[in-house]
């Protein structure tokens, strides 16, 4: 525990020192929100979105941006870099276990995701009148499970990729798919219905987030699928993870 605390503190310092990545991770979704929110027509209630504004409808997809960036992109490439450079191996020769470093990276990934989500939700509420999630419990649950599913996938990538390059080769398509099905590139109402339905079940489960944010409780099946992905990818990562 002692070693973990010190490693976490050091890793947090390194994380804060990398300002461009930090700002992108935490601020990018909010920046996109603000840009879209400045367009007046996107702030008008629209029957296409059951009488909500486009900004409200699109906000959950913006959550996907951070989740995808941190979960399937940053986390695996940081871990693969640490492995490739022998940081994990060196740690294995000391009384500290390299798992402490992995845990510290997970904590930082979660902290970044949480900060980004809070910033987005608060700015959306204050600047564009997007209500706070109407179903807080369902939203929290959908957010936790979606995050867990993506982080587990990220860990799985880090587990099977031997080098930083290999990690990126796996992470980039996964990132693009996550963003696409999450309705980031094209808002989901423009996607063919079948694609949008697939997106309900790909992590982080944007439909569950949207449901909980705008009113109803998320569908149990959506949540269950996220839980299954999180557990199976996590178990796979634990089994396959190599420290060197």
């Amino acid at each position: 525990m002692h070693a973990f605390r010190n490693i976490l503190r050091t890793e947090a310092r390194l994380y804060l020192r990398d300002l461009p990545t930090l700002l992108t991770t935490i601020g990018l979704p909010t920046l996109i929100l603000v840009v879209l929110g400045l367009i007046p027509s996107l702030r008008k209630p629209d029957p296409t979105f059951d009488g909500q504004t486009f900004v409200s409808y699109f906000a959950p997809s913006l959550l996907v941006v951070t989740l995808a960036m941190v979960g399937v992109n940053t986390l695996p490439s940081v871990l693969a870099t640490y492995r490739e450079r022998g940081v994990l191996r060196r740690l294995a020769t000391t009384p500290a276990h390299p798992a402490a470093l992995l845990a510290a990276q997970l904590v930082l990934a979660l902290a970044g995701i949480l900060a980004s989500a809070l910033l987005l939700i608060v700015v959306a509420r204050l600047a564009f009148g997007v209500p706070f999630p109407r179903h807080p419990l369902g939203f929290t649950l959908a957010f936790i499970l979606g995050t867990a599913a993506l982080l587990s996938l990220g860990l799985l990538v880090a587990a099977v990729a031997r080098t930083t390059k290999a990690a990126q080769a796996l992470a980039v398509p996964l990132f693009l798919v996550t963003m696409f099905f999450g309705g980031v590139y094209l808002p989901r109402f423009l996607l063919p219905d079948v694609v949008a339905r697939i997106g309900d079940y790909t992590p982080p489960g944007v439909q569950a987030l949207l449901d909980a944010w705008t009113g109803t409780s998320p569908q149990p099946l959506h949540l269950a699928i996220m839980a299954v992905i999180a557990v199976s990818a996590g178990a796979g990562a634990a089994k396959l993870f190599r420290w060197e």
Binding site: A3, N6, T93
Partner: protein, 302 residues
Amino acid sequence: MPVIEVTHLKKRYGDLVAVDDVSLAVEAGEIFGVLGPNGAGKTTTVECVAGLRVPDGGGVSVLGLDPRRDAAQLRQRVGVQLQESQLPDRLRVAEALELYASFYRNPADPAELIDKLGLGDKRNTAYKKLSGGQKQRLSIALALVGNPEIAILDELTTGLDPQARRDTWGLIEQVRDSGVTIVLVTHFMEEAERLCDRVAVIDRGRVVALDSPAGLVSTVAPEQRIRFRPSAPVDDRLLTDLPEVSAVQRTGSQVVVTGTGELLHAVTSVLARHQIVAADLRLEQSTLDDAFVELTGHRPAN
């Protein structure tokens, strides 16, 4: 009483036999060199000693403990510097040492260690901005920050310029003088000759020789050569009759005598008896380099 004992160690990776049969014992307080061509099994051997790999056969005992079963204890007492092991780019020198010091029950003072390793003016420098020599010194410092009884250093000076290499050697001698047993994996013969009390030469997964560097040279490559310019003509037979001499050659006015044992003494005595002065006298002895080639059939990597 040896602090490290390796007996009939075996380790294979799939079809590749990395270590076939390695036995060696390292005594407390010595600098023990592990030499060998690339791929000979040096690193695998020390990785088994460090508890990073599980041997397929044979035994390893470190400080009387089992590197796998007693890993937690040994990690407190053995410092390891691995080949090609780096740190995060943005981590600063002092931060790295303070972090690693915090893992140990009885660590060295990081600030003192930084000064001792000549990194005093770099304590707030990021790892990325350090030179190769400074990175290497930091790496050694990390292996020593736990106040280990044994330090295992793999490819200590690879990639360093000659000055940095010499500085590092001085440092290792200091560490040994403070009572730490050192296992040094290297393919630089000059380094082994300068630092090691004893060396094991490993080739194709086996120990092919184990001795002091000087002992190794005199048994494996005992040939010596004396060159001189005699002040008066010398009859070859005068020299060839000596039991130490194996051959006499002449190149111009120079005489070249090859032989073994107390060659220099034998040759100079016989010349003195005949009142011949040997001008420009030079003795050429084999080096560890020659012994290495003799043992492994490979040229050392530099």
